[in-house]
């Protein structure tokens, strides 16, 4: 080794000019290097100090945000049950597709592929992404809900190419078929941008599902749970490598409605496809037993995202399927208003002794006001069952608009009832002041005459009439209608519901016992021979009520009563109850363009019949002594509760459910199980 090296060294030519052994680099120059290196090291250490000591907390959080992804666990909404605990609205498991943005992955380039796989358009996806641009990056964007197994397969097949797609299991709303109780229940949908701007929805985030109508909306806070989340550890490719922790979702609370599925079903069937509404409630408490509006929509279509076509069809339909007519149709109440007139007239001491000779109408202030026939001599006792317009024209003239308006307002006409459903309208009760305020015109005395028969500017909703007439029959005790038992709500929530849906609420209007009897007797006679609703007479049931035939074009009242055009046909009203005094059930029926009020009476009758049938099947409601004449029981001045007689022969064996009702018990059912 040494020899070899020696050899190499020896061959080294001494001539090399570069080798000057005496020369040295000045030590100062090398010292410069030492200082430069020390300075570089200090700069680097200061860089480390800045990141690791000063910014450690901040960067730790960023590192955590990098690796931890919050995967939402969506809370199922509470189920909706009827008053007996039977299922009305259920949930079903469904898969939704989400897009995760917080990765080093170019999402824009993948959009065409994603769009193809999910059967969407690139524009749709971009629209969604735009909506979420302000949301935190780690929050997944809901791309498509309720995806098909085919689309699920696409996502699974492209796990590597499209790591940004993620599926989440969730519970989705399942509503009854064919729009059963659709307006009552309402529907859910994604929270809209306008809603997010509303402080009322401060707790909601984009993509949250929220009740958009009906009970789903008014009790949304109750029904919606609290979403949980799973903290998943991911790597830079978005692959899950572990789970840090799980916060389980808190499911929404189940909500028991005052609705009775049997009554609801009877009401649905009774109204059929007719354009209108039925509302049945218990006047003792205000509990709504059934609420139907026609035409219907299918809330299941809203539970995902409603298609543009479906939506357009719903909003352009002249019959307004999205309107809950039970609380949102404000129409002239027609002759049903005569009950309110009767209260006013009797309480004011005018009606008791008023006798009118009906010659098919009468002239007031130079105008002839028609009655539908010549009733001859009419007093308050037969004015109600005969629904004599001439009598009420005269009564209205004598009372004057201010007195009528006072009583009507007390009885809730022109006021919201305060029902715990969204979108209730107040209707209109005209008065001098009302006209001055809205039209800057003086009230003409002639207008009062029309108001006397529930025409003119008077407008009421079915629920107002049900509450008013049911309350009058209950001796002037009017209750706030509601669909959820207030006692089952937490106290703060009960208050919040009342504050959110203000209205007349619980009111007692003083009605003298004798007046009360006159009016209820009059309504009872309506379904008796000679009454306007004799066609709806129910044997063995104390069925009372009042028809109403409201002209659709109020200005042509009395001139064009029979029109061939359906749109010109009057709205047929009927408010019925059983029994006649202190009724257990009151049913208001509106059939738009149905014609005469008596056509609506059978609808109410079937609801009441269903109710009575049901009561009869319950032991404690059966009359102990069926031989006792029904009439005797009913003529007692004060009646408490219903006493039923004569169970129908066709009654199903006690204890086993009627076949038609069995389907209802099962939860999800067709509207007409026997017909299809």
């Amino acid at each position: 080794m040494r020899i070899i090296l020696k050899g190499i060294r020896r061959r080294r030519p001494e001539r090399s000019a570069a080798v000057n052994r005496e020369e040295k680099v000045p030590p100062a120059k090398l010292m410069v290097f030492q200082y430069v290196i020390a300075a570089v090291m200090l700069v680097l250490i200061s860089g480390l100090w800045r990141l690791q000591v000063v910014g450690a907390q901040n960067y730790r959080e960023m590192a955590e945000a990098n690796r931890i992804r919050k995967v939402p666990i969506l809370a199922p909404r509470g189920k909706i049950l009827d008053r007996e605990g039977r299922l009305i609205v259920d949930n079903y498991p469904s898969v939704s597709c989400f897009l995760v943005r917080d990765q080093g992955h170019d999402i824009a380039a993948d959009l065409p592929l994603i769009a193809r796989g999910l059967h969407m358009t690139v524009d749709q996806i971009q629209e969604i992404l735009k909506r979420y641009r302000t949301a935190p990056k780690f929050q997944p964007v809901p791309l498509k809900q309720d995806i098909t197994p085919d689309e699920q397969g696409f996502i699974e097949a492209h796990l590597d190419e499209l790591p940004e797609l993620e599926t989440i299991d969730e519970e989705r709303r399942l509503y009854p078929n064919d729009g059963f109780a659709a307006h009552l229940i309402g529907y859910v949908g994604e929270v809209s941008e306008e809603m997010l701007d509303d402080p009322q929805y401060a707790a909601y985030e984009p993509g949250d599902v929220v009740g958009r109508s009906g009970v789903e909306e008014s009790y949304d806070a109750m029904l919606r749970g609290v979403d949980g989340s799973r903290d998943v550890i991911v790597d830079s490719h978005g692959r899950e490598v572990g789970v840090l922790g799980t916060e389980p979702a808190k499911p929404g609370k189940d909500l028991r409605l005052t609705i009775d599925l049997d009554i609801q079903r009877a009401a649905e069937n009774a109204l059929g496809d007719r354009n209108g509404a039925v509302v049945a409630l218990d006047p003792h408490t205000g509990e709504i037993l059934a609420l139907v509006s026609r035409p219907v929509f299918d809330p299941n279509k809203f539970s995902v995202k409603i298609g543009r076509e479906d939506w357009n069809r719903l909003v352009t339909d002249p019959n307004h399927p999205l309107l809950d007519k039970a609380i949102q149709a404000q129409l002239a109440p027609g002759s049903t208003f005569k009950i309110i007139m009767s209260v006013a007239g009797l309480q004011e001491g005018i009606a008791e002794n008023l006798r009118v000779d009906c010659q098919g109408g009468a002239t007031f202030y130079g105008h002839f006001f028609a009655c539908d026939r010549r009733h001859g001599m009419v007093d308050i006792h037969n004015a109600i069952p005969l629904s004599c317009d001439t009598y009420y024209y005269t009564l209205a003239q004598k009372l004057g608009i201010e007195t009528i308006a006072k009583y009507a307002h007390e009885l809730g006409i022109g006021e919201k009832t305060g029902v715990d459903l969204p979108g209730e309208v107040s209707g209109t009760m005209p008065s001098e002041e009302w006209k001055l305020r809205n039209f800057h015109e003086k009230w003409y005395a002639g207008e009062t005459i029309s108001v006397g028969i529930g025409q003119g500017a008077v407008a009421a909703t079915p629920i107002q009439l049900a509450r008013a007439l049911g309350g009058i029959a209950s001796g002037g005790v009017l209750k706030r209608p509601h669909v959820v038992f207030p006692g089952e709500l937490p106290a703060y929530y009960r208050q919040a519901v009342q504050d959110s849906y203000p209205g007349s609420g619980d009111v007692t209007v003083p009605i003298d016992a004798s007046n009360w009897e006159i009016i209820t007797e009059g309504m009872a006679s309506t379904t008796e021979a000679g009454g306007t609703a004799f066609a709806a007479h129910l044997d063995g049931i104390d069925f009372a009520g009042k028809t109403g035939t409201a002209q659709v074009v109020s200005h042509s009242a009395g001139m064009d009563k029979i029109s061939s055009s359906v749109a010109q046909r009057p709205n047929a009203w009927f408010v019925g109850m059983a029994p006649r005094r202190n009724p257990d059930i009151v049913v208001a029926v509106l059939w738009q363009h149905g014609g005469w009020g008596n056509v609506s009476a059978p609808i109410a009758a079937s609801v009441i019949e269903a109710y009575v049938d049901k009561q009869r099947r319950l032991h404690h409601n059966l009359v102990a002594d069926t031989s006792k004449p029904v009439k005797d029981v009913m003529t007692k001045p004060v009646e408490i509760g219903a006493v039923w007689s004569k169970p129908p022969a066709s009654e199903a064996p006690r204890g086993s459910p009627v076949p038609a009702l069995a389907a209802i018990d099962a939860g999800h059912f067709r509207l007409k199980p026997e017909g299809e």
């Binding site: 080794m1 040494r2 090296l5 020696k6 190499i8 060294r9 080294r12 030519p13 090399s16 000019a17 570069a18 080798v19 000057n20 052994r21 020369e23 040295k24 680099v25 030590p27 120059k29 090398l30 410069v32 290097f33 030492q34 430069v36 290196i37 020390a38 570089v40 090291m41 700069v43 680097l44 250490i45 860089g47 480390l48 100090w49 800045r50 990141l51 690791q52 000591v53 910014g55 450690a56 901040n58 960067y59 730790r60 960023m62 590192a63 955590e64 990098n66 690796r67 080093g104 170019d106 550890i233 991911v234 790597d235 830079s236 490719h237 490598v241």
Partner: protein, 365 residues
């Protein structure tokens, strides 16, 4: 008194520091590749280190004067190799390697560092004692600029830039006067500006990489991504670090190439400020020891050789660590003695072997 090379004169202290860094490197490569497809690469690194060590010992017994004498031939050969490499097909977007029989990938640009150190030493050592003329300066610049441009063409900006400190050190130690120095600096600034503006020499992605460190958030998904993730990793380590194999940035693959260019970020995340400062301290000691060897070198070329090595090392450390902490652009320069990779290990150990020879030779003759 004539003496021969003796291992007694070998710089064992320096070797000790170098070995500490090598061990740290192996452990960090193990940790950084644990959850990647490169798991087990630390074993290759051990092999490279063993090979590098052997080369260092071999180099330490080759008289550096021999290298000085034949360096113009070596220089010529490597210039040809650099031209030749441009004729090869692109691998991963660049032409850097020449395939040799036996599956070895020969990367001339790494070796050129060493060649430039030697040729600069020979060139400037011969000029010491008189003032450098512009002609001297331009000759030196030309010697370095030719390989720089060839490597830039590959394209490999990082390695190309690594050549410049060799020239700077040569000029500085060779005795450039302040005036020429100032003119040169000005010229470089203007030239760099011109190159930047012309848009011909630098590719757009290279430009983007060079500027993104100033504001990485401007393009967090693209060029800024590496800087952001690296800074997060370093900061995440805090004072004490998250512990070996526990760095979430490193293990979750958020930190790009955590076993090569960004190995120091991985180390910082897992061993914290304290660990990082200790490693930098060891680098500092290595460099100080090298400068000491330069001071005690028997002749001027020896000093120039060692200082050339010092220049390349401090440049790489400054640029790599600077990049990791977000003070420098991403240039793809590995951290000597830490980053995974045969070329880098071989260069470092060959350079150290040369230094060893300089040190051992001072007692010879």
């Amino acid at each position: 008194m004539r003496r021969f090379l003796s291992l007694r004169d070998f710089d064992w202290t320096l070797l000790g520091f170098v070995l500490i860094l090598s061990v740290v490197s192996v452990f960090e490569i193990y940790s950084a590749t644990l959850h990647t497809k490169f798991v087990g690469f630390y074993r290759f690194q051990i092999l490279w280190l063993c090979g590098g060590m052997a080369m260092m010992f071999l180099m330490s017994v080759i008289d550096y004067h021999l290298l000085l004498d034949i360096v113009h031939w070596i220089y010529g050969f490597f210039m040809l190799a650099l031209v030749g490499v441009l004729a090869t097909p692109k691998v991963m977007g660049a032409r850097r390697w020449i395939k040799l029989p036996g599956g070895i990938h020969f990367q001339p640009s790494e070796w050129v560092k060493l060649v430039l150190i030697v040729i600069m030493a020979r060139y400037f050592a011969g000029l010491v004692g008189r003032e450098l003329t512009w002609k001297d300066i331009f000759k030196a610049i030309a010697l370095v600029a030719i390989p720089m441009l060839l490597v830039l063409k590959q394209p490999d900006l990082g390695t190309s830039l690594t050549y410049s400190p060799v020239l700077l050190v040569g000029l500085f130690l060779g005795g450039i006067d302040w005036k020429k120095g100032a003119i040169l600096i000005l010229a470089v600034i203007l030239g760099a500006g011109g190159i930047w503006m012309s848009g011909k020499v630098l590719k757009p992605y290279q430009k983007a990489r060079l500027t993104s460190f100033i504001n990485p958030d401007a393009d967090p998904k693209g060029t800024g991504y590496q800087i952001i993730q690296s800074k997060i990793a370093v900061g995440d380590g805090g004072v004490f670090g998250r512990g070996a194999t526990r760095g979430t940035q490193t293990q979750g693959d958020f930190l790009p190439i955590p076993y090569t260019d960004f190995i120091f970020a991985a180390f910082c995340e897992e061993h914290g400020f304290i660990g990082a400062v200790i490693v930098l301290l060891i680098y500092f000691l290595v460099l100080m020891r090298l400068i000491q060897n330069a001071q005690t070198a028997a002749d001027l070329p020896g000093t120039f050789l060692v200082m050339g090595v010092v220049a390349v090392l401090i440049f790489q450390i400054a640029v790599n660590v600077g990049m990791v902490v977000g003070l420098m652009p991403v240039t793809g320069i590995p951290l000597p003695l830490m980053s995974y990779g045969g070329s880098s290990v071989l260069f470092t150990f060959l350079a150290l072997g040369m230094v060893m020879n300089v040190r051992m030779s001072r007692f010879v003759n």
